[in-house]
Symmetry: C2
């Protein structure tokens, strides 16, 4: 209790940063007891100090000189909640070089260039923690990295983007189309004016890269992650999922698979149908959840708020307590672990399952020809359902697992058949049913 | 990688211990990479070495001399999976005194006398980790202790006993009575021949004590935990819950409440009705889940298998990797934290809500008199439902929150009213609805 204060610099003071300031103040006594020394906020770097902020940040702490703040020789700890690649990367690297331990929520930076940051932390002998970068307040990185360190993780399925889950949940419950629900989400503040990063899966892909890296002890970057968003998901897709007892979710999927040269990683983000009985199916609105399968532990799920100022600040402060304790005891926590160094499979070589709805002529022989098309691409069929007749005749096919490229080629061939009017829904399927 | 091996002694080789041996062998390379040194199993203490075991434990490692094994001067790490109070306590204390770090799954011992163990670990400067003691493979202690260290946990609601959840789930889905389902659970291996520890809530109470201690930084023992089991839960209770859109679960409830002298802890285990919309309501069969509410993070849930050899071994090995890394770096992880030292409220002073079904005479004025009885005990009513008539007339009352003693006294008074034939169901209610 009598240890001198650890000095903290905060980079960024938006919705997360201002909640960090609030919690530092309100929980000061508890934090001191848990760390073993007080944490003293010595500076807050912001771009526009004139802005009104949620927390009462003492005006004398505000500075526009972030580089000068991290270069101070009395700073022990740095929290980075600016986001984006630059200046965050330069500031984090400078902080580490200057001997500070760093906590960041910056998923984009970690997914693009984590290895530079990890190397700098290693070289400096300091901690770099980032629980808040994936799934907000939900403790998922620490369980993956530490709790499951004696087990073999085989699969991570995550709903890691609240905006897209909100949209897909509304499409499912209201039967509405994508564009209509997106507008509602924007009005409610669940989607940004430019929703691209969320809706097209960029945000989820960055998180998938981080999850895959930790789960499989291999460097996976955002560029390694196959990515498809939800803007092409139609009300018909959602209705078709419902018919099958499924729901459509945007999933971040990280799997350990058998590749051509031994075990390999598949990392991808795309909409998928999952059975309503799957624990992820009941994740509603803007909540996040991460489902983990491992060899010994079996199936685990972690559920909670995936975004928001206070939840994200909770994750940042949990990391801060750990790195502050480490700092006080002059030790480092477990750093990056990339020893497995597995190959990342291209999407085409990843095995998936497809759900395909095909509008066809209502005449004899059609089903046989469709089945033959699948067989010609080495894709075996699990179920076929015939629906409607006359102009409304439709075949709904669910395949067994096959190479994604073979499934895509099958759909291309189907589109060219003369009795096929339209392939009206194509979507991957995850989970057993 | 070139560090010399860390030497491990295993105490107990039942369903968990034999899975630990298997994983140590199968994951040896991964464990070495994650720890930074190989882990070498140097002895396995068992009572009956002649038993056939799941894993092929090399015969030369088996010994009946557990005390001699932990006294060896080359042992760095000890795993205790014997269970029970003695000889486990003596062995763990001897191991710590001898300079070994310890991983245990022993909930009963931790809940009865954790403080002795924590003090010994502190004195020895070694780690004592115990993730496997609560909710099997589900990482819950580490998130509570570390991930949420910068937040204020206000409430933990856990389904932490698989046997009772299996029984209550079957009573709900099949409409069967307790005795009938217990027999089925025993036949399937979900319940022991003597089911007392599970069915009467002793197992859950030990886990509640551990959860409350970690969540509120206060020493809570099993004796501090109010406990009611499920043997009195009737098919009528379950049906009554269903009528209200609820399901009956055995909950371990740990709350931060305002006590007479400031913040205090309430820790209790009892059956409760929760709304079907609550995330815990969908926890089926023998699965476990822990629902955590905290000031900043909001609502989190952790879900997975709560028992079984392999899942529990996964949690043990996760801890083993951490304590082995700490050992290698000659540091200690976060030890016990009891700085808050809050009072534990007696059950009578804890605020709860009751659901009460009362068989009554079907005549005017009865509802008024029942309402008056609640009012006389300072208990306010949320809803009253009248059902049936004539001999089947029933009032179903759900109260607002009130002191548990006031609610219990209300029920006592109700039983004595001349128009009351029977109070046919009394159960506490948790969750908003």
């Amino acid at each position: 209790m009598s240890a001198p204060p650890l000095k903290l610099a905060l980079l960024g003071c938006g919705s997360v940063g201002s909640q960090v300031v609030r919690l530092l103040r309100e929980q000061a006594d508890d934090l001191t007891a848990r760390v073993g020394a007080p944490i003293e906020l010595v500076g807050v770097a912001v771009r526009r100090p004139e802005l009104q902020r949620d927390a009462e940040v003492p005006a004398e702490l505000l500075t526009t000189d972030a580089a000068g703040l991290v270069a101070r020789d009395d700073v022990d700890l740095v929290i980075e909640v600016i986001g984006g690649i630059e200046p965050s990367r330069a500031l984090i690297l400078a902080a580490l070089e200057n001997g500070a331990s760093v906590v960041t929520a910056n998923k984009a930076l970690l997914a693009e260039d984590g290895s530079t940051l990890f190397a700098a932390a290693e070289k400096a002998g300091r901690d770099l923690y980032f629980e808040a970068a994936v799934a907000g307040a939900i403790p998922i990185l620490r369980p993956l990295r530490e709790s499951l360190a004696g087990d073999r993780v085989t699969r991570v399925l995550g709903i890691v983007n609240g905006t897209t889950n909100f949209i897909l949940d509304k499409m499912d419950t209201l039967g509405s189309g994508f564009a209509e629900v997106l507008e509602e989400a924007q009005a409610l503040g669940y989607a940004e004016a430019d929703p691209t990063a969320d809706v097209e899966g960029y945000d989820a892909a960055a998180k998938a890269a981080i999850l895959a890296s930790l789960a499989f002890h291999t460097r996976v970057t955002a560029a390694d992650v196959y990515r498809e968003g939800i803007s092409e998901v139609s009300a018909a897709d959602v209705a078709s999922a419902r018919e099958m007892g499924c729901v459509v979710k945007l999933l971040a999927i990280c799997e350990l698979r058998e590749g051509p040269d031994g075990p390999a990683v598949s990392a991808r983000v795309h909409p998928a149908m999952i059975p309503r009985s799957h624990p992820l199916a009941s994740v509603r609105e803007a909540f996040n959840a991460v489902f983990v399968e491992s060899e010994a532990a079996g199936q685990l799920m972690f559920y909670g708020p995936g975004a928001g100022g206070a939840p994200t600040a909770s994750a940042v402060l949990g990391d801060l307590v750990t790195v502050a304790r480490n700092r006080l005891n002059d030790v480092r926590g477990a750093g990056e672990s990339a020893y497995a160094d597995l190959d990342v499979l291209p999407m085409g070589e990843t095995e998936t399952r497809y759900h395909v709805a095909i509008d066809v002529d209502d005449r004899a022989g059609v089903l046989a020809q469709v089945a033959q098309t699948f067989a010609a691409h080495q894709v075996s069929i699990q179920t076929v359902r015939q629906e409607g007749h006359g102009d409304d005749a439709q075949l709904v096919v669910v395949s067994h697992r096959a190479a994604d490229s073979a499934l895509a080629a099958t759909v291309d061939t189907l589109r060219k058949l003369d009795f096929v009017h339209d392939v009206s829904s194509v979507m991957r399927v995850e989970g057993d049913f």
